[in-house]
Amino acid sequence: MSSVLLNTLPIAVLGAVLGLDMVSFPQAMLSRPIVSATVAGAFVGRPGGGLLIGAVLELIALETLPFGASRYAEWGTAGAVGGAIVASEPATSAGALCVGTFAALATAVFSSRSMVWLREWNARDARSMRVALDAGSPDAVNAVQLRGLAADMVRGFLVTLIALLVLYPLSQQILAVWHTDAAVSRAVVTTVAATVGVGAVWTVSQRTARAGWLFVLGLAVGTALVFLK
């Protein structure tokens, strides 16, 4: 049995903690993919693999601005799933980074939806306690808050567990018949991530006077450094 299957439950627990961090507690950005994927990679025994996909997902996550009620990707569980899948493959695997990123983004769709369900459940819970809340009961206030926190942990656990149980075997089957060269595979996933990342930084820079020019200047310096290295 592969290491990732042995580690499914610990990674699901990790996903619960990372998913909780995204909104509910403590919002310390443990849920950012550069952290979540790297930690999941460390759980599987290859933190370097987790860091690699964490960096790719972080480029994509630059676009995510978690404004209140807007619907956005939940990167804690997504990073944990992607990091575990990439780290469970050898570093020489041609398609692991691409398949891991695909799995992480697929998890993000599911986890994003699960946050909507959680918020609807929280609303129903608060509504059911409305009489006690309107009477100023501290027990009711604490109960609604603690149940919300517990429900978010359960959500993160289930999302990670289900995603791993579905996507890990699928990724194994895909990688067994992967035909594209390793360099091309990495180039494709990097291009996709960079497109979103550059677009995100450009969008942020467009809101501020002269920041667009600073971005172009920075790009010129960065590109020169790449070719000088």
Binding site: F25, E63, G95, G148, R186, F215, L219, G222
Partner: protein, 240 residues
């Protein structure tokens, strides 16, 4: 003031029961509860009921609201004045926080971490650097908010005109722009590995793609488009 440590600790869970009806309302009451304990039972319950209703704002700035509203309750302000003040707080606390943190501090810290990765830092260094840097700002902001709210009460508005809050988003956006420009090509290079031609091709395609993302991003989030493109590539790599 009694209850300050409890309220500060609870601020980290202010969004624990976030929902589409009261948003952070219950969270505000949850955080404020330790501060309200010195009130007489009747006023304590009335204050808690008032604070458990709809409220919205940036989570890191909830200390300002919790502190200022608790101070107003403890000072015996009238319920009508507290309600008006509460409503007036929502907008500024949301917009200041969104610009300073989500559109400023978070992207800067993220780009610093990507920069460390690009320069060859290992997993532990990159993660610890990111978390330490980000949370210095995060925790400081929460602590400042609660302190200023508790000390100024309903006269907290001038504190939101603090130069850091007014100029911070502008400075951070410029830092993010220049840092993003430098870091993104270097980070791509580390992911791709050896090969300047490949790196150049990726950079050119990414810049053209980014123009499309910036143009149409509002209609389709980039991460969903990325999922679609990768799904197509995975399919191609399997069936060709």
């Amino acid at each position: 003031m009694p209850g300050t440590v409890g309220a500060f600790t609870r601020l980290f869970a202010v969004q624990g029961a976030w929902n589409y009806e009261t948003l952070m309302g219950n969270g505000i009451a949850f955080c404020m509860e330790p501060l309200l304990r010195p009130l007489a039972p009747e006023r304590y319950r009335a204050a808690l009921a008032r604070q458990a209703r709809y409220f919205n704002g940036h989570p890191y700035f909830m200390g300002v609201a919790v502190g200022a509203l608790a101070r107003a309750e403890l000072d015996g302000e009238s319920p009508e004045r507290i309600e008006r003040f509460r409503t007036a707080l929502c907008g500024p606390l949301g917009s200041v926080g969104d610009q300073l943190v989500w559109a400023g501090w978070l992207p800067v810290c993220s780009l610093v971490a990507l920069g460390a990765f690009a320069m060859g830092a290992g997993a532990l260094t990159t993660v610890v650097l990111f978390l330490l840097l980000y949370n210095v700002g995060h925790v400081a902001l929460r602590a400042w908010g609660l302190r200023v709210g508790l000390s100024r009460g309903m006269r907290v508005a001038p504190a939101l005109a603090n130069p850091v809050l007014r100029q911070g988003p502008l400075v951070l956006a410029r830092v993010a722009a220049v840092l993003g420009g430098i870091v993104l090509p270097l980070a791509l290079k580390r992911v791709i590995g050896p090969g300047r031609v490949l790196a150049g091709a990726v950079a050119v395609i990414a810049i053209f793609g980014a123009v499309l993302v910036a143009r149409f991003g509002a209609r389709a989030p980039g991460w969903r488009a990325a999922l679609l493109l990768l799904a197509l590539f995975v399919l191609y790599s399997v069936i060709r």
